[in-house]
């Protein structure tokens, strides 16, 4: 009987001690110098080699992208201010398209926010060790993406200052939400998801806050991390409670991962607009969300890993697994597109057939360009990930992930304006054109996302320190067992492969 190790050794590269793991991750937070490395001081444009005229330390990626993020946050704030004072007429929404960029971007951001909980909760329940290096980062991404998403429906109410009317509470106005509306379901689904995601993220941070508290040299940092660590001592009792809390939160989060995007899909599927009342929408939206979420994790993790020298913790094995998940979920999404098209033709129903022609026919249908871009970005380009070598090439991975992010945006664009501008009556046909404010708000939320993510990198450990230590311990234990010196591997540690 051959011994087979249950954890892949390539999940942690190089020789490490617990102290070196602490130093490599915690010092990114505790040592400000890690953020001021002059990584970008030259811009090469063909033969031109332009020196960026920034003061020493401020030409680092962190400061550069923080600056860009901050600029776009301001654009977002201006857009919101103009919208609140003028009304949602500044957007391109108009009959027959009552939902435009606002809902497209809402769904896009919610989708991006799915990878975090999937990695943290579902992979935790499935005992997948490869989640350890990326879960914290993905969880943060989830929270910030949901924040960006929440802005759109809030503003689309037209009067965001009375958005609390969406909640059922006793009032003298006789106001009561329409519980048959999936938009009200969204309020509950997204707010629950946000709450549980923040709780899960915070609980996971507690042991690492204690590490930062113990390593911090400055008084403010010691007090801040001390308060956040809630008196963590690292005792057996602390760990037992932590494990219980994590498992309970993972159990709660798992159905939430499915429910949030299922309910988002109901925003459309509950309607009778051709192309919306589609029974495969719930699973295909969930798969699309995971697809988009992993694409964003890969897109952001590749440069950040390089800038902060995290190659030992986020290895090529992690990228390989993430690429495989992206490929698998991408195929589910493409299957969804295929089913939509096939059944539109199979149905024999005129309005379903018309929907197919409106998407499919190049040059003749007004939005076919968007449909074919969607197929290119989501359907064709990601297929390169079937080749193992391509999954090991970070440039390719970065390009494919970016392609998926764009493709997933086009998916929502195809579903929403095409169906709304071509319903049952030719008299209600139209064409949707977004305005500059639509774009300003979209890029503004991107800026907000980058801004928040960089604050997170600066002030909190982006990789789960104690889980990396646990992984190291388990790898050492397995190495011992493999050489026949131990009493065998912990069967509980076996991944579900």
């Amino acid at each position: 009987m051959a011994y087979e190790p249950s954890i892949d050794k390539s999940l942690l590269e190089g020789e490490h001690t617990e102290a070196s793991i602490d130093a490599a991750i915690a010092d990114i937070v505790l040592d400000p110098k890690t953020h001021t490395q002059p990584a970008i001081n030259h811009l090469k444009l063909g033969k031109l080699n332009v020196k960026i005229p920034a003061p020493e330390g401020y030409n680092s990626p962190w400061f550069l992208f923080m600056g860009i993020g901050f600029l776009f946050v301001n654009i977002l704030l201006v857009s919101i201010a103009v919208l609140v004072f003028t009304g949602i007429g500044i957007w391109g929404n108009n009959q027959p398209v009552g939902w435009g960029f606002d809902i497209i971007n809402f769904v896009w951001w919610i989708g991006i926010g799915h990878a975090g909980t999937l990695i943290s909760a579902i992979l935790l329940l499935l005992r997948q060790k490869w989640r350890n290096s990326i879960n914290r980062f993905a969880e943060a991404m989830t929270i910030f993406a949901v924040m960006c998403a929440g802005i759109y429906p809030l503003l689309h109410t037209g009067r965001p200052w009375v958005a609390y009317w969406l909640f059922p509470y006793p009032n003298v106005l006789g106001m009561w939400p329409n519980f048959r509306s999936p938009l009200v379901w969204d309020v509950f689904a997204v707010s629950t998801y946000m709450t549980v995601s923040i709780l899960f993220w915070f609980v996971g941070l507690i042991p690492d806050f204690a590490t930062l508290r113990d390593r911090a040299k400055g008084k403010i940092a010691r007090v801040a991390f001390g308060v956040a660590s809630m008196g963590w001592k690292g005792s057996a009792k602390d760990w037992v409670r932590y494990e219980h809390a994590s498992l309970i939160l993972a159990g709660i989060s798992t159905p939430l991962v499915l429910s949030v995007h299922t309910i988002v899909s109901f925003d459309f599927a509950m309607g009778i607009v051709p192309g919306w009342n589609v029974t495969i929408f719930p699973p295909y939206f969930v798969a699309g969300a995971v697809f988009a979420g992993f694409a964003m994790v890969i897109t952001l993790m590749i440069p950040i890993r390089k800038w902060y020298k995290l190659e030992a913790f986020v290895t090529m094995k992690h990228f390989d697994w993430m690429a495989k998940v992206m490929l698998a979920t991408g195929l589910i999404v493409v299957y969804g597109y295929a089913m939509e098209i096939f059944y539109a033709i199979y149905s024999g129903v005129p309005w379903e057939l018309s929907l197919f022609h409106n998407r499919w026919e190049i040059l003749q249908a007004p939005y076919s360009w968007a449909f074919w871009l969607l197929i290119l970005f989501n359907g064709i380009i990601p297929q390169i990930l079937w080749i193992p070598k391509m999954r090991q090439n970070l440039t390719v991975l970065m390009l494919v992930s970016a392609s998926v992010s764009v493709g997933m945006w086009f998916e929502r664009y195809v579903i929403i304006p095409i169906s709304l501008t071509r319903d049952y009556l030719p008299s209600s046909y139209g064409y949707y054109t977004p305005t500059g404010w639509d774009f300003a708000m979209f890029f503004g939320t991107m800026g907000l996302f980058v801004f928040l993510l960089l604050l997170f990198i600066r002030f909190l450990p982006m990789i789960n320190i104690f889980e990396i230590k646990e992984l190291k311990h388990q790898l050492d234990h397995e190495a011992h067992a493999e050489h026949g010196h131990g009493h065998g591997a912990d069967p509980e540690a076996a991944p579900a492969h």
Binding site: M1, A2, Y3, E4, S6, L125, L126, L258, T262, F266, A269, M270, G271, I272, N277, V278, T279, I280, F281, P282, P283, L331, Y335, G336, A338, M339, E340, F342, Y343, I345, Y346, S347, G348, V349, L353, W386, A481, G484, G486, H487, G488, A489, P491, A494, A496, H497
Partner: protein
């Protein structure tokens, strides 16, 4: 594993899977065949064929479910499922698939007696059926059904041959080769399965369509395959070669997968219903309207209770997932309930002119008998465990 357990492993009595299913198969074939013939003869060829379709599609679904599980196993290079791979292989062996393709001939040769879209006088006055004629015709029917069988026979042969070579030589490089074949196989499988179910079952209600239908049935049959597996090995865990291998760790893993498929089935079922109910469009609601009468409305309620709620509560308990005996009982329960659920899905669409539950049950039993007999023969004809099934024993020995 302790020394006592090792001794138990070596001295345990041989399992009775092959014998049990052979006897059960013969009994079901005789009883079911007799019942089907006795009650169906007077009802006419049309009713008999349609009743046969129900039984046939349930047991072909078992093969399809096990084929999907085998593809999934090789795609993700699963380790925990090695001890039951031979069960899945036997359920979808090339011989089993050839027999199923032959057993499909009575349906394929009598399309006019089963499908409305085969009647020119009906199509002539139905605009929707005229629009659908490009797909609903005998040529496409034969391509999508026999093409699906041909695909499964070829892929099953490839994967099982590679597995047998590894078992004979111990060469693990065959696992890499299987991992090359399995992912595209899974992709084609999900796609072709959809056309298969559209042609054979969805087209029974010629106007109706639902985009989730194919994967919904696939998930249901994967669940049935897992239940059958749990029932089979759960009752044999104290016998060779399963003793020490079908342990609490194994049932925990298969329990988690069964729980996942239970949830997925309930999720698909509820989503399809809710979207149809909310849309309230006649081309979609017709399917549920047909099922809103007795006994189907009771079966629908029972389905959610018996196929979702009970397994969900049992499988949510870690202690249940770690107990092979509980898992065997639950597997039997879920497997039986799947037959009722499939009755709810298929029988109203058969539009039987003189419905007789005994003919339907007779057809189901007869096809089940044939399936179990072929399964038992296939299982007996090959080694009971694949290479590396004993990895847990190796890990415990250190």
């Amino acid at each position: 594993m302790s020394d006592t357990e090792t001794t138990m492993h070596e001295s345990a009595p041989k399992n009775t899977i092959g014998t049990n299913y052979s006897i059960l198969g013969v009994l079901l074939l005789l009883v079911g065949g007799g019942l089907f013939a006795a009650t169906g003869m007077g009802a006419g060829m049309e009713n008999m064929l349609r009743s046969y379709l129900y039984g046939y599609m349930f047991w072909s679904g078992m093969t399809i479910g096990c084929f999907g599980l085998m593809l999934l196993h090789h795609t993700i290079r699963a380790r925990w499922s090695r001890p039951v791979l031979r069960i899945w292989e036997s359920a979808c062996s090339p011989l089993m698939l050839v027999i199923q393709a032959v057993a499909f001939l009575p349906i394929a040769m009598n399309l006019k007696l089963i499908y409305k879209w085969m009647k020119p006088e009906v199509v002539a006055v139905d605009k929707i059926l005229q629009n659908k004629a490009f797909y609903l015709n005998p040529t496409v029917f034969y391509i999508t059904t026999f093409g699906f069988f041909a695909f499964m026979i070829f892929w099953s042969y490839q994967l099982q041959a590679l597995q047998r070579k590894e078992d004979a030589t111990g060469d693990k490089s065959y696992a890499d080769k299987r991992a090359v074949w399995a992912p595209p196989g899974l992709l084609f499988f999900v796609l072709l399965l959809n056309f298969f179910y559209t042609s054979v079952l969805m087209s029974l209600d010629a106007h109706w369509f639902s985009t989730i239908y194919g994967v919904w049935l696939m998930v249901g049959f994967a669940l049935a395959g897992l239940a059958f597996t749990g029932m089979t090995v759960g009752t044999q865990h104290k016998r060779a070669p399963f003793v020490g291998i079908i342990n609490e760790k194994f049932t925990y893993d298969i329990g988690v997968l069964t729980l996942a498929f239970t949830l997925l089935w309930a999720y698909f079922t509820f989503s399809q219903f809710l979207i149809t109910w909310s849309g309230n469009l006649p081309e979609f609601t017709v399917w549920f309207v047909d099922r809103s009468v007795q006994p189907y409305s009771t079966l629908a309620g029972m389905g959610m209770f018996a196929q979702f709620l009970i397994p969900f509560i049992v499988l949510l308990q870690p202690a249940s997932r770690r107990n092979p005996a509980v898992f065997a009982a639950l597997g039997g329960w879920v497997f039986s309930v799947r037959m009722f659920d499939f009755y709810y899905v298929v029988v109203p669409s058969l539009h039987l002119t003189s419905p007789n539950a005994l003919t339907l049950i007779g057809g189901l039993f007869a096809m089940g008998g044939l399936w179990l007999l072929v399964f038992a023969l296939q299982y007996k004809s090959r080694p009971e465990l694949v290479n590396g099934s004993d990895y847990q024993l190796a890990a415990n020995h250190g």
